[in-house]
């Protein structure tokens, strides 16, 4: 099917999120009742909600959907599904059930495109070992697709974003720069190899990251998506009451991205994320603008940011690199102090 999905929208992927600051502002006056079984809710701005149903079993619930970020329908479906499943992995869990959330125009785009999106999504759900239970399709001019996901986790293995501790080592599992490359691709500026690497990376399930977190008892993690590394790190710093220090030179970056940023290819979402993180952002003197903006680049289906104990961090990174995540790296550390994200 040769229909260019990119022709339908200007802002695709996670960069289509409403600015974080706006959202938290308006949610303030809508109180949410809860009971003792609610282990994680919106309060800590975590990746997903968690509800305990037995001593050794909790459900993880999450949803994510967005407009197209690439031309090919099947690839879009795969990326959107992978991104939605990621929140379950970020909590240390395993996806179990999914529902398709689909918006698609009644006319103007061939229906085969919808078939390919859903089929791509199903490939990813199959790979995750989860089961599609149905879905919902609404007519809308710009297509949007994603999943609602239910996952399971033993509460002992739960990884939240509020458990970072002084001395923890920060690990990032995927390279940064997807947002920049998607924008550059639209303008014909992206190297094809870099763009393909971004697409491939966005279709990589964070499953191995979750497995290693269970194996090495990592209790604090998040996935890096629409709010960028700086935004998600800031949320983690606030939830945990600590500072996240990043050595920007150690951050994995998709080749060509820093050069694109230097040339002015800074997506609008990066400025939204900068605004969100600004109250807690401390940037080392002399840090190049492109490195700062890289940290604000909105990722779609990005990697996991884990807080590991120093004695297991190397082992985790080694296993990640030998497995699905050759770009995984130690990128900084957690320190005491009022919530902040420090970039040097």
């Amino acid at each position: 099917m040769n229909f260019d999905l990119l022709s339908t929208t200007q802002t695709g992927g996670c960069s289509a999120k409403l600015p974080a600051g706006l959202l938290s502002g308006l949610l303030k006056d809508i109180p949410l009742p809860k009971n003792d079984h609610v282990l994680v809710d919106i309060e800590t701005h975590d990746d997903a909600g968690v509800y305990q149903i037995q001593d050794d079993l909790a459900l993880i619930v999450t949803t994510d959907f967005f407009p197209p970020l690439c031309s090919d329908a099947r690839t879009f479906g795969r990326i959107a599904a992978c991104n939605a499943l990621s929140d379950v992995y970020a909590m240390g869990g395993t996806p179990l059930l999914t529902l398709n959330l689909t918006l698609f125009p009644a006319e103007g785009i061939p229906l085969e495109v919808l078939h390919d999106i859903l089929s791509g999504g199903q490939e990813m759900v199959n790979e995750a070992g989860a089961f599609t239970m149905g879905g919902h399709t609404i007519v809308d001019e710009v297509p949007k697709y994603g999943l609602a996901v239910v996952g399971t986790v033993n509460p002992e293995n739960l990884a939240t974003n509020d458990a970072a501790q002084d001395g923890d080592v920060l690990i990032l599992t995927k390279a940064l720069g997807c947002g920049v490359l998607i924008a550059a691709h639209r303008l014909g500026m992206a190297e094809e190899s870099s763009y393909q690497k971004a697409l491939a990376q966005m279709q990589k399930l964070n499953r191995q990251g979750a497995e290693l977190m269970r194996k090495y008892h990592v209790r604090c993690a998040t996935d890096v998506t629409g709010f960028g590394l700086a935004g998600h790190a800031y949320k983690m710093a606030i939830a945990s009451g600590c500072q996240l220090h990043f050595h920007t030179a150690d951050l994995p970056v998709i080749p060509g991205v820093l050069e694109l940023l230097e040339a002015g290819c800074v997506p609008g979402a990066a400025f939204k994320n900068l605004d969100f993180a600004r109250p807690g952002l401390q940037v080392a003197e002399g840090l190049a603008v492109e490195r700062k903006m890289l940290c604000c680049d909105a990722q779609t289906s990005g990697g996991l940011l884990m807080c590991a104990k120093p004695d297991v961090a190397e082992a985790i990174v080694t296993e990640l690199r030998q497995g699905d995540f050759p770009d995984a790296a130690i990128v900084g550390s957690v320190k005491k102090g009022s919530p902040a994200v420090v970039l040097d």
């Binding site: 030179a249 040339a263 290819c265 609008g268 940037v283 003197e285 700062k292 550390s333 040097d344």
Partner: protein
């Protein structure tokens, strides 16, 4: 004055065209960017702020114009003020773009200190060049270790008394151990810092020697920053 037309372009194209024009234009000349649309307007203003460029904005109906003076060229994305202590963000975290105008002026003025060395010997003698001291081990010079550490100690302790202070003291490899608790030169380093000398400590090194938590002076930095300093500061001194 050169005019760049970015009307009708979606982001980030207006930023890219602006950056291209900036890279080509002569320092000190004026550029004006003409565009429309609120999103490109906001993003481009934010981008200029990040680049440390102060602008004047005008609006005519749906269209807008951003005019600014082209600053001195920077080297390979390295900001010139890395040794001129004019980065408001470092001084006041999270407040970076509030004082754009001031920010821009300072950045434009900063490269004065970057005037390349060796052209005019007389000028040299009258105005000493900025320099950086690199402390790469616990010893000064090579030879008996006991003598080396003694020499390093007295060198650093003498530094604060000099008329011409270094712009930056950069510490890497074993040298970082002089910045931690119990260092015999801690007081002198703190004194230098209070006199405005930037003390840059290699983060990889403090991690490696497991002393990050004991750091008592200086700012942790990375190889990118250290390499930029080494490539931009006219004189580097290895005691």
């Amino acid at each position: 004055m050169a005019t760049i037309d970015v009307r009708g372009l979606a982001c980030p194209a207006p930023l890219i065209k602006t950056k291209q024009a900036l890279d080509k234009a002569e320092a000190g000349s004026t550029l004006q960017i003409v565009g429309n649309g609120e999103i490109p307007f906001g993003n481009l203003k934010n981008y200029l702020k990040e680049l440390g460029i102060a602008y004047k904005e005008t609006r005519v109906d749906e269209e807008w114009i951003l005019a600014f003076t082209v600053p001195e060229k920077k080297k390979e994305g390295v900001v010139a003020e890395s040794f001129c202590s004019v980065n408001p963000e470092a001084a006041e975290p999270g407040n970076g773009t509030e004082n754009t105008a001031e920010n821009g002026e300072k950045k434009a003025a900063a490269p004065k200190a970057q005037a390349m060395p060796g052209i005019n010997i007389t000028a040299h003698l009258n105005t000493p060049l900025p320099y950086m001291v690199v402390i790469k081990s616990l010893n000064m010079g090579q030879g008996e270790e006991a003598l080396g550490t003694l020499l390093m100690k007295s060198y650093v302790n003498v530094l604060p008394e000099l008329d011409h202070l270094p712009q930056v003291i950069c510490m890497y490899n074993e040298g970082v151990k002089l910045a931690i608790e119990g260092s015999p030169v801690l007081e002198s380093l703190q004194k230098l810092e209070s006199k405005g000398v930037k003390i840059i400590v290699c983060g990889t090194c403090t991690e490696y020697y497991k002393v990050s938590g004991q750091l008592k002076v200086g700012t942790i930095s990375n190889m990118y920053h250290i390499a930029s300093l080494l490539s931009t500061i006219p004189n580097v001194v290895y005691p």
